[in-house]
Symmetry: D3
Subunit: 62 residues, 6 copies
Amino acid sequence: MPTYHVEMMEGRTVEQKRRLAEEITRVSVEILGGAPESVDILITDVKRENWATGGKLWSDRS
Amino acid sequence: MPTYHVEMMEGRTVEQKRRLAEEITRVSVEILGGAPESVDILITDVKRENWATGGKLWSDRS
Amino acid sequence: MPTYHVEMMEGRTVEQKRRLAEEITRVSVEILGGAPESVDILITDVKRENWATGGKLWSDRS
Amino acid sequence: MPTYHVEMMEGRTVEQKRRLAEEITRVSVEILGGAPESVDILITDVKRENWATGGKLWSDRS
Amino acid sequence: MPTYHVEMMEGRTVEQKRRLAEEITRVSVEILGGAPESVDILITDVKRENWATGGKLWSDRS
Amino acid sequence: MPTYHVEMMEGRTVEQKRRLAEEITRVSVEILGGAPESVDILITDVKRENWATGGKLWSDRS
């Protein structure tokens, strides 16, 4: 039942998402218990113009 | 003032979203009170490659 | 699989949450399809000092 | 370390996002303390068909 | 209608939240337009044992 | 910069959270790249009366 929301900069491949989902689910079950089927993972691909750190959009960094 | 965030797999029609917004608002006002105008509903259409259950992306399910 | 996050001002009873969970699940299945078991609803009770509208905390409203 | 998630109707320019990121970071550091680099801001552009107020989608308003 | 979610380490005073709500609302209206009444701000006070950076819980930092 | 939000039923120990933070950070860096310091993890402990699956609050399950 644990639910993971992952926000990451856009551009990751499906293969990276696939592995991330497998690994987070494995780690979650190992540490928190429960069945793998109860683990949900939702990924948000964030555009660089939609994420700022230190007051600066990532699309403005060279 | 209650705010609802709905995450659903992409592919739903505007008509489904329209009905869902009407019905959740109606149910919310009926049970929690308050004015309909104070109910906000935000929908996120999630791509199948961005949602995993049981460690498996939905885009990988046949 | 639709997942609902509900943010509401603190103070609602468990009975209100119970009815809300039932009704949102019913409405969701009716409009979006899917099994009731695939519907998750997570409620956040927000303190009045943690919600502002129009620049004013709800704890500051009389 | 404060993290801001901003949901706004789609259609804002990058210049508006840039200024918003600057100003929120400035205000955050001024009031909460901490270094600007520790402030993260994530923006979500919401489609009008994905936001409802008062039970009505914004795409249905004239 | 813009909605701001702010996650911050617990321990901030109500006065800090009050000023933050005022300032973010002011900045939002100035840059994005709209009425102040349409701006919602929700604050989450995060416990130090519930936030990790670099793999380390903040409650474990001296 | 990836940010993970984990919603889990309340009752987990600090040691479980510590290990989860370590492991998710490790897995994230391994698969997505980036520095460990850029990974943030925020945990939400959800009360059983605030989570429903299949229309039923978890506090109502025996």
